[in-house]
Amino acid sequence: MLKAHHYAVPISIIISLVLQIMPLPIQADVYRPDWTLIVLAYWTMALPHRVNVGVAFLTGLALDILLGTALGIHSFALSLCVYVLAANYQRLRNYSVWQQAIIIGLISSLYHLVVFWLQHLLTDIYFQFEYLWPVVTSMVLWPWVFWLLRKARRQFRIL
């Protein structure tokens, strides 16, 4: 029998990867929230001994392959963001969900800026404020993902 508490974390990360690459109409694509970052952020805050920089690095590599970017760009950005969260998890846990949403917004903008800077070093692209729309949608999405994943964590008794 599958033990849910072993597989819930990887499965949730895989689902987030699928959501991250799912084709969307061009109008909605700009607003796509950072699913992978949000899910990793939740698990980092909830279980910092299981999910931290290592998992973020591997997930980032998977994202690089799926998105066709140079290997290492998303793993760099995700490791950095998750490090910030893992280093402060005790403080962040005590915040209310709304305060956490603001933190997620900050982390998400850090993520997008790091990805942009790395890409800017490799190719000559120019910054557009459209690139920061996911920050807003990620903040809006955070409370719902938080609620859903916490329910899953309690249901399956993931420690």
Partner: protein, 295 residues
Amino acid sequence: MDTIFTRGPSLNNRLALAIALSVLLIFVDHKLDGFKSTRVYLNSLMSPLQYLANLPGLLLSESAQRLTSHQVLLAENERLTNRVLIMSERLQRFELLQSENIQLRKLLDAPVKPGMRKMVAELMAVDNNPFSQQIVINKGAIDGVFESQSVLDDQGIVGQVMEVGTTNSRVLLISDVTHAIPVRSLRNNIRFIASGSGSLDELYLEHVPHSVDIQEGDLLISSGLGDVFPEGYPVARVKSVIHNESRPFASVSAQPLASLDRLKYLLLLWPLSEGELTEDEQGTTLTGQAVGDRK
């Protein structure tokens, strides 16, 4: 519950390790191109996720197809039948012209241009990465797709294959900032280089002197130089020409003819060597079952 970080390296060391590895990977992948062969396996490894992500859209279009009414289907059928008639009429003329062209070329002692083997591919996914413009198609190494192969749609050149996976491959669009394609103007055969602008509906022609004869509406076709794209396929139409004498070059922008934002069916081209006749091509053209073995 475990106490945190009692096992393994500390959080700071983990970060340092991850960052160092990432930088190394970026360097090796981008500057040295060291993952060329590994990428095929990595892409194949990740393709189940791609198929999974594609599923909702597939189901949606499937159910939409089931729900189309009789009327719509009839109308579409009529439209397509008309189009086939017009096309086949054009094809008859084209065949005459082609044989005439071959004869004339033989008279002039110029080499006869070989034909192309074609295969229809379908769009699987569009990358949501705002910094680069790539698409994923549903043909891969087992269909004979190779790197830097030309990809077309029914209007013109779309891009070239960038990475090949086992069952799918990644196409770099001509509008990507890192892409450039050699073209020539159909009107007067002047050669240009059209590089991508990063937005789907614009290409820039670079280093065009002010004295060059180029006008709005000029059709740009691939020139075949550079040995990546075959000669003579339409690429773009000149949209605007701005002569600002204070700048060293004229700024010319062109609009790609392929509808890059609404791709669905794409055409892959295999160059045939001169020995292979075009007869066998006619049977397999556009059936989508052409075996992709290259000679």
